[in-house]
Symmetry: C2
Subunit: 465 residues, 2 copies
């Protein structure tokens, strides 16, 4: 009976020490909301530098700026990790119109998809075949698409509450549309923008030619959702109308670039690495404030908030600003390869790449025991209206680190507005609300704090020992 | 033992019938997101009519428009409820500057507070005393404020996650500042805008002179947060600087106006009334899209969504668009008085008056048994990321209905952006996201559906009998 009391205490002891953790997390949120720097950093990245497509001068400037700011945080180490990245350039503004009769034209807003080839210098004009999906394309198949422009017009499903589900379901048209349409002899591809609302902004984004040989590649562009509606309605009236588009984008030689990395060395288990990151590159149309300037400044802010609240991490906390997420993932690959070759032990990685909107929670890709532990922390986040702790994918830049023991997580911000801005000229700073951005940084820092303190199922320590 | 099985079934029977309710609520959300009208109605209210201050032509137009749209919904009854409302007019644009030395001036953005008197035609110029709160004013007290302009510069607290808490804590300066400062002989009042960020928009809003006699009233204006920072910094450099402001707003005679009401008659318990509402009036600076055009169109959409999904309410469902919430609550009073005199039995009332942002949940002011029942419905809302079911105040327009049995509730949207727009010239339609608005309407309709089906502790039926 002697140990029964102790046993009972151990059984009901929560997986976190209530007061300390509540105080630390409260300090993190308060500092973020009163002395946060993320918003000012993002202002500079967005308005002084701008869109940061891999290989661009702006991407170089962003690397310099991020390193400078990391240097100013008093971290234990800040460095650049070299990586060769593709350099695709958009060239002159694209131009397109619907020709309902010879001489009767309506201009529509388009933009080249990232990685697309240019049209011939004089553009392409051809009849149009509208399809709702890659599957529908395959059904039409050979014999009806030769010499035509394929118009992928599958809309994003508005009924999903999590808009990223609708994006995932629709984005195949954009990514593989040109590769697939080329197999049937199409001469070009126009894709409805990945956008849940009707407006005039074309949304760019990555596409791939897969194994298509250079000779057989066809140009691909996104059309605004209003443009797509108009094209579809015009086709219904007369299937014989023509579509014209012209773009002169080019893929150049790969160029030298860098991931920007900064870390606080762990006091007790420096070899156990906790990573927090976003991607520093962006598309070129807007200034990449939500995608993913937000994730970068939030990741830097995580380190700063831990320092500012006087927390001394036991493990190494590393912020990684990945290069080239949008069109190649070269930064993520280089980082993961380096980690592997150096036998670095990443125990937890958290990515923010879903916009700087009000944080709602996280998605986790991890062992069951770790997921159960995270769920036990939910009450600590309730005062901050953080409530979603779901299983799911984490983020493209940290996925290459996946193994059987790492905990991968993605910040989950409110998703309703993201696809209004995503990959467009209106992914700009004025659409970021300071408090939403700061709450995201604090939410990330709080989770990092908890994992640092309590470890994961694979770490040296559990429960703060 | 015969009845043990039955007893067990009754004990574990949930307070809602899982499949039916899930399907009905799913239908409500789907219809709202695919066939919603709230956004188009709001577009008209905002962009064709505009700001709808009580007594204005725009308020009249909004009444006509709302009645027209309600008439088009095939409701059982649509009517206007007469109410006399105050008519305050802003007059010519306000003007203000900081005079650091004679002839050296900096203009700053101000706006008269609603209900304020004008300055003399030539404006007021006086020395300034800055205070952080009404309490601080009282401490300074007599002898130091005569002939001065009192500058209330208490900021909203950025550390509250629910921004309305910060608003409630700070808004006393705006509401009672002039009444209190006049007691000490001040000649005018300038109040820091109720805004969590630094920008150039002054935020208007209601103020009251309390019992102050006409002769002793002093003019009151809001200054933008950037203006407040500048004024405060200038005062620190030199407490002798002067502030000038001029406004020529006026309180006119009360005028005839109306609440707009539409209802679906209950099939089984028509005498039990469920109310859903917002307020049709707004301030005059913007177009009142978030405050509270959103709540109005959402309330109308609740009725439409119930009809559209084929649901036949057992109780009477009534949408009420209240007039004059902003500066008098005359519509709410008239409605409550009428309800009392007609012995109407309101069993549930839900208000949307916190902006058209992503819905997060509700606040409830109701008997414990009803609160427990509502909390048991949480799982039905989880798929829609609705998670906050808290006790708290409901809304200014439905509070007059409070008694010992009614269930009062307020829709709780994400609050981070609200005070960027609240009562300013940028409370405009382009800052409303269609999906967020539609999700709010669906969330309200789902709760109305559940209360209609299952009743409250005071209704004739429980559990759908």
């Amino acid at each position: 009976m002697k140990y029964l009391g102790l046993l009972l205490i151990l059984l009901v002891w929560p997986a976190w020490s209530q007061t300390d953790d509540r105080e630390q997390i409260n300090a993190i949120y308060s500092k973020s909301l009163t002395e946060g720097r993320a918003y000012n950093w993002l202002n500079y990245l967005s308005n002084q530098i701008g869109g940061r497509l891999s290989g661009s001068v702006q991407a170089e400037q962003a690397i310099e700026y991020a390193k400078l700011k990391m240097d100013s945080l008093g971290l234990d180490r800040v460095w650049l990790q070299p990586v060769m990245v593709p350099k695709w350039v958009r060239g002159a503004p694209e131009f397109a119109f619907i020709e309902s009769k010879p001489g009767i034209t309506n201009n529509v807003p388009i933009c080249a998809l990232g990685g697309s080839i240019s049209t011939p210098a004089g553009g392409i004009k051809a009849n149009v075949v509208e399809v709702g999906s890659l599957e529908e394309l395959e059904k039409i198949g050979l014999g009806k698409l030769e010499g035509k422009i394929v118009f992928f017009n599958g809309p994003m499903d508005p009924t999903n509450i999590d808009t990223s589900e609708s994006y995932s379901a629709a984005v195949g048209q954009r990514y593989s549309g040109a590769e697939e349409a080329a197999k049937y002899g199409a001469v070009g591809v126009i894709v409805r923008s990945m956008n849940l609302r009707l407006d005039d902004y074309p949304h760019t984004g990555a596409m791939s030619y897969g194994e298509t040989t250079l000779d057989n590649r066809i140009p691909a562009a996104a059309i605004s959702t209003n443009g797509a509606e108009l094209l579809s309605a015009t086709l219904q009236l007369n299937p014989e109308i023509k579509f014209y588009f012209k773009q002169n984008c080019r893929q150049l030689q790969d160029v030298q670039s860098y991931n920007v990395i900064g870390e606080i060395k762990g006091s007790t288990y420096p070899e156990e690495i906790i990573l927090v990151g976003g991607h520093l590159d962006s598309w070129d149309l807007g200034d990449g404030s939500h995608d993913d300037g937000a994730g970068c400044v939030q990741s830097m802010e995580v380190l700063r908030l831990l320092k500012l609240t006087g927390y001394k991490p036991k493990r190494t906390i590393r912020a990684v600003l990945f290069m080239n997420e949008e069109n190649g993932l070269k930064g993520a690959s280089a980082y993961a390869e380096s980690a592997l070759s150096k036998k670095e032990n990443h125990v937890f990685a958290l990515e923010s790449d879903s916009g700087g909107f009000t944080p709602r929670g996280f998605s986790f890709d991890c062992p069951e025991t770790d997921y159960a532990k995270v769920v036990s922390w939910k009450p600590l986040f309730e005062p901050y209206q953080i409530h979603l702790f779901e299983k799911g994918s984490s983020g493209a830049d940290i996925e290459p680190l996946k193994n059987d023991h790492i905990v991968l997580a993605g910040l989950y911000p409110d998703s309703q507005r993201y696809f209004d801005h995503h990959h467009t000229e209106i992914d700009t700073f004025e659409h970021v609300n300071r408090r939403e951005l700061e709450l995201g940084a604090a939410t990330m820092a709080s989770l990092v704090y908890l994992f640092d303190k309590y470890g994961t199922s694979s770490t040296n320590t559990e429960r703060g020992k």
